[in-house]
């Protein structure tokens, strides 16, 4: 996760208007979802990989590793859909009998599962494009433009900021416990982890109070009013994105 976040700040598309990237990722994702076709899914996967790697300068090896993360859920999830309890063994591609139940894969179920497999992967590649090129701070700014309530956004900012602080602390305590042999068997492991979490909670509580004090000292009046970075729209990018999406819609319409 540290990587995804680091690339968001350090990729080659960092200075492109976040709204352009957000729109591009989301529109493509929705088309991929709605089209539910092999061709569109494959195009989306290739398109997003291409943009992320070539334009965003995300290392190829790292990108491939990322794409494998959801593979496990994908395999289990789609297999569960592909394999069904069937009563007649007529149009089965594959089947087996366990006790009195007959499990099998039909043409239909396999097609459904395979379509789903690629559709989900396509959508994931859109999500990756967004998180690899757009820092969370900018995504919060977009949500502000979309009129998401201020309170929700403030909580989001705080969560994002302190996630790293708490992670450091959790890491440090975990190491401190490890070097004092706290995880040498499962019983000790539970005890140590319980202490870690309890400590983390109390620490969060204390930190929230200290933070309030510090913000009060800087004139906090109930909301996090800050200056957001300004970006310029690029007509070229907007045209490109619109053309791409139109093209995708055409292909989707042709193949479904």
């Amino acid at each position: 996760m540290i990587h995804l976040d680091q690339y968001a700040y350090g990729n080659a598309l960092r200075n492109v208007h976040p709204q352009e990237k957000f729109f591009f990722a989301l529109a493509t994702m929705i088309i991929c979802l709605a089209a539910n076709s092999f061709v569109v899914s494959l195009i989306v996967i290739l398109l997003m990989a291409g943009v992320s790697i070539l334009a965003g300068k995300i290392p190829l090896r790292f990108y491939c590793k990322l794409m494998l993360i959801p593979a496990a859920f994908l395999l289990v999830g789609t297999a569960t859909i592909a394999i069904n309890i069937v009563d007649n063994s007529a149009n089965l591609l594959w089947g087996c009998q366990i006790f009195h139940v007959y499990l099998g894969v039909t043409n239909q179920s396999l097609l459904l599962a395979a379509k789903l497999f690629f559709r989900a992967w396509g959508a994931v590649s859109c999500l990756y494009f967004l998180s690899l090129t757009t820092p969370s701070v900018e995504i919060i700014a977009i949500l502000r433009k979309l009129k998401v309530p201020e309170l929700f956004l403030d909580l989001m900012s705080l969560t994002y900021r302190f996630l790293f602080v708490l992670m450091d602390r959790a890491d440090n305590i975990h190491i401190a416990q490890t070097v004092r042999l706290g995880y040498t068997d499962i019983r000790k492991g539970y005890r140590s982890l319980g202490q870690l979490v309890a400590n983390l909670f109390l620490h969060s509580y204390q930190r929230s109070r200290d933070l309030y004090t510090a913000l009060e000292a800087r004139g906090y009046q109930g909301y996090f009013r800050v200056l957001e970075r300004e970006y310029r729209y690029s007509k070229k990018n907007l045209c490109l994105i619109l053309c791409l999406e139109m093209l995708l819609i055409l292909i989707a319409w042709r193949y479904s």
Binding site: S157, R161, F164, V165, D210, L211, Y220, Q221, L227, R229
Partner: protein, 290 residues
Amino acid sequence: MTTNILEAQQLYFSYPDGTQALAGLSVTIEKGSKVAILGPNGTGKSTFLLHLIGILKPTKGDIFFEQKKLDYRRASLQALRSRVGFVFQDPDNQLFSASVWQEVSFGPMNLGWSKEKVIEQVNLALDLTGTAHLKERPIHALSYGQKKLIAIAGVLAMAPEVIILDEPTASLDPQYTNHILKLLEEINSGGTTVIMATHDVDLAYTWADTLVVMKDGRVLKKGQPVEVFLDDEVLQASSLTKPYVLEIFQQLQRNGYFAEDIMIPRSRQQLLEIIAARGQDLINKRAVAY
């Protein structure tokens, strides 16, 4: 033309758990001065500082800002905090935003300035602290020293007349310590009053123009660095050690190594210089003798 910018009169304060942190503390802070508040851990330094911006309210006693008594109403507190900035010891407790730019703009935005003014001030503060190159970086990717600088920038951007820092150099390596001391020097020479709490006597001796020695929630002594550190009674009562520059100088002077009327050195640099000058002196004398 020394006017008091801040004043505390007979402050008493106890924490909810019963510890009495302040016990009749009175002190005045002159406008434009560089004040170091000294004392070992647990003498109420931080508690006192939090009183100066009205975060803590004394159980007895008063705070005055520009001779005006603080009345703890919302508007007065806001007015006070718009002119007195505070930098906490742990930057992770102070930085709430993930982006450097947003973080530094928080204070100025709260002051209700125009967008242009805010941008100008944020850039000014980033330049002053030498952190303009960090503008696009997320806070969590910064080192401890960088976070500390951003915390200071966030306060400087509000253009305060007084800036208060709690242990600004704790946990920093010598490079960052020097950077921050130079920065504070620069801010002060622009007319801003700088107050810091520290337990580093060497730093306080060299940097401050006024020392406030605290003990048991009270002010034991206030004065110029040399004056305070020559007062052995105060040092003993507050269990402060003498700055090494002063101690070594005094030992050499007792040996008659320097002229009686020599300026007491305030920094390692100065001490080394007067020793070197004395060496030159001896060589010259010897040259004359032959």
